[in-house]
């Protein structure tokens, strides 16, 4: 396996510069156009929200960025490198981590093991050492375990460390999923509806975590969210999609006042 740490692939990008650039991306499934000709950028260190009504192509957009889908037209430039057909594991090894709309965890494994999988790409000891589980491989395991424990502390989930995640309530599962993404120490974190199905208190916790991740670790975050209050509070800039097209892009205040956005959310006839 080729392990490329995110730092070594290209020169570090300073805060405020473009980290990821989406240019004229179109995605079709057979005759259905999920995304048509969308362009926007994500700058280093910002919280970028992608919003829009159901079926606007938000999740498809994230899937293109993280390599689950390959757009038929257009390009995605990440850290100054234009990518053709990047695969999910390649995206992950270049520093993109994500969570899913409907939680995708390893249900049979404990919270700890789930978050440890986030460190898989950082573990480099060879096959033989792994088999011996001794010496350098053991030291490595312990070092990664330490990072994972820090993530667990950060997310305040110490109590469920050993619980199989299948047994946890939904809100906590979402938190574990965030933990797994954080364990990879990503440069770009994609969050697909991190607060869906949560109660007010859980939402507030999640907001706090997202802001802390952004401010303490300087992680760039792209998130999809339906709760407009949350979006306007959290994000630095917002891109609005509707029927696969971009209809607005800018700061929360600008987007809020945009007539097209208001129409889209109120469902005005076209």
């Amino acid at each position: 396996m080729l392990h490329v740490s995110p730092q070594s692939t290209s020169a570090a990008i300073a805060k405020g510069e473009v980290l990821l650039n989406v240019e004229n991306v179109s995605l079709r499934f057979g005759g259905v156009k999920a995304i048509s000709d969308v362009s926007f950028d994500i700058r280093k260190g910002e919280v970028r929200a992608i919003i829009g009504p159901n079926g606007a192509g938000k999740t498809s957009m994230l899937n293109c960025i993280n390599g689950f889908y390959f757009p038929q037209e257009g390009h995605i430039t990440y850290k100054g490198v234009r990518r053709q057909k990047v695969r999910p594991h390649e995206a992950a090894s270049s520093g993109i981590a994500r969570t899913f709309q409907n939680v995708a965890l390893f249900k049979g494994m404990s919270t700890l093991d789930n978050i440890m999988t986030g460190r898989l790409l950082k573990m480099k000891r060879g096959f033989l050492w792994q088999c011996l589980h001794w010496g350098p491989a053991q030291a490595e395991e312990i070092a990664h375990r330490e990072t994972v424990e820090r993530v667990i502390d950060f997310l305040e989930i110490q109590a469920i460390r050993k619980t199989p995640v299948g047994r946890l309530p939904y809100g906590l599962q979402k938190r574990v999923e965030l933990g797994r993404a954080l364990a990879a120490e990503p440069e770009l974190l994609l969050l697909d509806e991190p607060m869906a199905g949560m109660n007010l208190e859980e939402k507030e916790d999640m907001c706090r975590f997202i802001l802390d991740v952004n401010q303490q670790f300087g992680t760039t975050i792209a998130l999809i969210e339906h709760d407009m209050g949350v979006v306007m509070d959290l994000s630095d800039r917002v891109v609005v999609l509707e029927y696969g097209r971009k209809i607005a892009d800018g700061t929360p205040d600008v987007v809020k006042a945009d007539q097209k956005v208001i129409d889209a959310y109120l469902g005005v006839a076209h």
Binding site: L105, L120, R125, C131, H133
Partner: protein, 373 residues
């Protein structure tokens, strides 16, 4: 709920121990009942009840050497069943595919080993002996790697995310392809395993114990040792290493595994290659006890009851299941078989498995399926 559990007295034994105690209790009660029936004269000698329930145990008591011999044979068969089942479990865990072709992989790998040895010694004029046998072994291992790679490329990759039944059918297809391909390359005649050339012991030793004789094949000892080491190694590897964790992750959710940077393609090649190596070892061991022929595939199907017993997702389950089936089969054949005219070895395993299905559908160690509603 918390109030209830906190006021309830703490159980003295863990649930697993409680279950063991219960099972032992039931067996003890049955044994006691049989002894009482025999002693009270309700079950006279020669009656069906006596033949089924009492006579076999009296035989075991009277001829302990025969019992040891039967147990030993059951143990060896059980370890080998466990090995075959392990091949299934590996692939099922990592890709959710029930690999119907595992049985034919056993035959195919063994045929490759023997066939390439024949080609090297007979057509290429290399000397017979350990060196060439090891060369043939390397060829067989390489072939299993190429097979794993091709399966990933041609079968799994295009079918990713398809229904389980479609994946199963694909492995059925693979089975018939491998049969045809194997016959084309190596011919359909049974071959003799190159046991001695591989450095495996062939003799036997007789022990005089318990007033009788127990005959132990050296090959069986080797088989038991090699299989045990291999099973232990694999179990450890899956539980404690990075790749093992990645494998378990893939088994659980493909999508999530991809998002943390696991390459499905690479994991599948590793898993199928490992299953291929397990098949090769199984092929050598079974091939050495009989011939290397396509009939060996039937033995591989014995893995099914083992899997039902142990659970499709559990490595320890495969081991315990294998031992239960192996020992149960030999004991059944030896002590109860004559009542039915012999030959019950072929189907007894399936009956044991059926009994288990009724009470524990997920197997002894399988993951209990918990679903939130």
């Amino acid at each position: 709920m918390s109030a209830v559990t906190s006021t309830a007295p703490k159980p003295m034994l863990s649930p697993a121990m409680m279950a063991t105690v219960k099972v032992l209790g039931v067996f003890g009660a049955i044994a006691l009942a049989i002894v009482l029936l025999v002693q009270s004269g309700a079950m006279p000698k020669g009656s069906i009840g006596h033949k089924v329930l009492a006579a076999p145990f009296i035989d075991m008591w009277d001829l302990p050497d025969l019992l040891v011999q039967t147990l030993w044979e059951g143990l060896v068969a059980g370890v080998l069943y466990a090995l075959i089942a392990l091949g299934f479990v590996l692939i099922f865990k990592a890709s959710g595919v029930f690999n119907f072709a595992q049985g034919i992989m056993v035959v195919f790998s063994a045929l490759t080993l023997v066939g390439s040895y024949e080609i090297m010694t007979q057509r290429m004029g290399l000397p017979t002996g350990v060196a060439v046998a090891i060369l043939a072994l390397i060829v067989a291992v390489a072939t299993m790697f190429v097979l794993a790679w091709l399966v990933e490329r041609i079968v799994l990759r295009p079918l990713v995310n398809q229904n389980e039944i479609i994946m199963l059918m694909a492995t059925v297809g693979l089975t018939y392809f491998l049969i045809g391909f194997g016959e084309y390359v190596f011919g359909g005649n049974p071959k003799v395993m190159i046991t001695a050339e591989l450095g495996l012991p062939t003799g036997n030793t007789q022990f005089n114990i318990l007033g009788g004789r127990v005959n132990i094949q050296h090959l069986d000892v080797a088989a038991a040792v090699i299989a045990s080491v291999m099973i232990a190694g694999l179990a450890f590897f899956f539980q404690y290493t990075r790749i093992g964790r990645a494998l378990r992750a893939v088994a659980d959710s493909h999508k999530a595994a991809l998002s943390v940077g696991i390459s499905l393609n690479q994991i599948w090649v590793i898993v199928w290659f490992t299953a291929g190596i397990v098949a090769l070892v199984t092929g050598i061991m079974w091939g050495a006890r009989s011939d290397v022929s396509f009939a060996l595939e039937i033995i591989a199907l014995k893995a099914l009851p083992v899997l039902i017993l142990g659970g499709f997702t559990s490595v320890p389950g495969a081991i315990v299941g294998g031992l239960i089936i192996g020992i149960g089969e030999k004991m059944g054949e030896g002590y109860w078989g004559p009542l039915l005219g012999g030959g019950i070895e072929t189907w007894l395993a399936y009956v044991i498995a059926l009994g288990f299905l009724l009470f524990r559908p997920q197997g002894l160690f399988g993951e209990k399926i918990i679903e939130r509603i």
